[in-house]
Symmetry: C2
Subunit: 322 residues, 2 copies
């Protein structure tokens, strides 16, 4: 079923949708963020929530019910907390959409609708999950409140995968330089703003802490000046993800500060990859996380090579019960 | 004006409040979180948002208008981004409540209502800001949707300051042990769940990064098992804030894992301070961050003493323009 057909189907059952929840864990939670961010920014009537799955399970929002859409997401479809959230949402009468790479996984059992996405095929396929969730959010807004830039958005969706494949093609030298420069870093901070905020978060918790065992923290660059910036000194390792859109002044201000005090700063900037050539300005904000997250994979791979620590190496995950 | 009178006054002007936004930066943003969390959990109709101020300024939610209440917060009342958010919200027709220690500060200029709070007098006074914001959230829910546990909540407010003063009285030995054990830590991770999630965040970004220049990251313990736990090894420094309430199983699961792999773990547990003796179980979740954050100040002070790095020391803040 196409994404717009899913939303049309929900609308045919329940015209008065009042709330939309995005529920997942770790990298999947972060991949839900642009969809959440889009609705939170643009919806005038819808309640919108974004939860790590167990918090949704243990302290379920009172508004979840037959007037809710709950979007759950898990790459392999077997994250226990997210599977539980899917069943819980269903039992409360919500319209549940499960987003996963694995159509036959436990996540899909209690879901009303299943959205499958690519992942392993290419750099752009890795961003299919985030893009489809964002598109669901746009379809929901368009169906229930209307969205003026629907056409522009759909045009952007058609082009963003090509933008990622193009951007990643020539990226290895820069990414290799990043890997070499940061391979012995005792800690790496990651920052961004707007719809890209949780790309910084997921690079920190999934790529660095989980896959590289490198110490890391992340925060919005809106928050940087209210605490974290005091950690800056010469050669402190930072990775700054810069958006082409409304919150770019926040990114630029952070960059100025990092440069002023000679932090070791790597910038991944949507402008450098010509995002505006692919996506129109009315909707560009929401495509930044897709492009930047797609591109970051190359940086992670080169860091892994420089550190001789494969991205697949784990101490605990997949190895034991916890 | 009392907090309930502020909400009654708003209600007399605008019966159809549809959205409530909590806007601030850094420690103040974190102090807004329990109020946000309460409304997000309990409201059935209200849209609820929580923003770092410049994201509210640069990408203002479409729903902000005359049907909105915007609560802004800044300790000294002169955080430029939050002052700007206050004016912006006012210009959009929102009902704006400024929360600050300084009644004559720039933050209050464009606000419709001003709430002042204690801070410097005692450990419990430091939590007056968070408590008053949470109380505003409860008053808003009670006025616009009704709240079944209003009496229990207000009873808790009367007692929570005493609970903090009592808890902090005998705490120095434990806090001193924490300071000694963590004084040379190259990084400290901070975790919690539920309404206390941003207490972990603010301890990480304000107390550790800002006031101690100690590397740090923070995350929900719901997220811990989906990335960050791979950083755990013997003697890795963690600070775990445990709640007495619905999300305690999340805290306990994280503790079990930390103990199993012999991380260096300090637990600050609301149960150890008898929170349930002060606050009834229907509302206890929301008082955890108040008690725990109050208590953590003693830990921060002892860490500062052990590290010979006063909490007031800064490289950049208050010293230069940025």
């Amino acid at each position: 079923m196409e994404l717009n057909q899913i939303v049309t189907s929900i609308q045919s059952k329940q015209e008065a949708i009042q709330s939309v929840y995005f529920v997942g864990c770790g990298g999947s939670k972060a991949d839900l963020y642009p969809g959440f961010y889009f609705l939170r920014s643009n919806a005038k009537k819808l309640i919108v929530g974004h939860y790590t799955a167990n918090e949704f399970n243990y302290d379920t929002p009172a508004a979840v019910g037959e007037n809710s859409i709950v979007i759950t997401c898990s790459l392999g479809g077997n994250t226990p907390e997210t599977v539980k959230a899917t069943s819980l949402a269903k039992s409360l009468g919500a319209h549940v959409i499960a987003v996963t790479h694995e159509p036959e996984s436990p996540l899909t059992k209690d879901a009303d609708y299943v959205v499958t996405h690519g992942f392993f095929e290419s750099y752009s396929a890795k961003m299919d999950k985030m893009t489809k969730i964002l598109t669901l959010a746009v379809e929901i807004l368009n169906a229930f409140e209307g969205y003026d830039y629907y056409e522009q958005f759909m045009d952007g969706v058609e082009k963003i995968y090509g933008a990622i494949d193009e951007a990643t093609k020539l990226l290895v030298p820069q990414a290799k330089a990043f890997g070499e420069a940061y391979k012995d870093a005792p800690v790496i901070y990651v920052m961004s703003s707007g719809a890209t905020t949780e790309v910084a978060y997921s690079f920190s918790i999934c790529l660095l802490l989980e896959m590289q065992w490198v110490n890391s923290g992340s925060f919005s660059d809106g928050e940087f000046f209210h605490g974290p910036f005091e950690i800056v000194e010469k050669d402190k390792p930072f990775l700054l993800l810069m958006n082409d859109g409304k919150t770019r002044p926040m990114d630029s201000r952070a960059l100025d500060f990092l440069n002023r005090f000679e932090a070791k700063t790597t910038v991944v900037d949507a402008k450098d990859f010509g995002l505006a050539n692919y996506v129109s300005k009315e909707v560009i904000d929401y495509f930044n996380p897709i492009l930047i997250s797609g591109v970051l994979r190359v940086y992670a791979e080169q860091l892994a090579i420089a550190r001789k620590h494969p991205l697949t190496k784990r101490r605990y995950m997949w190895k034991l019960e916890y």
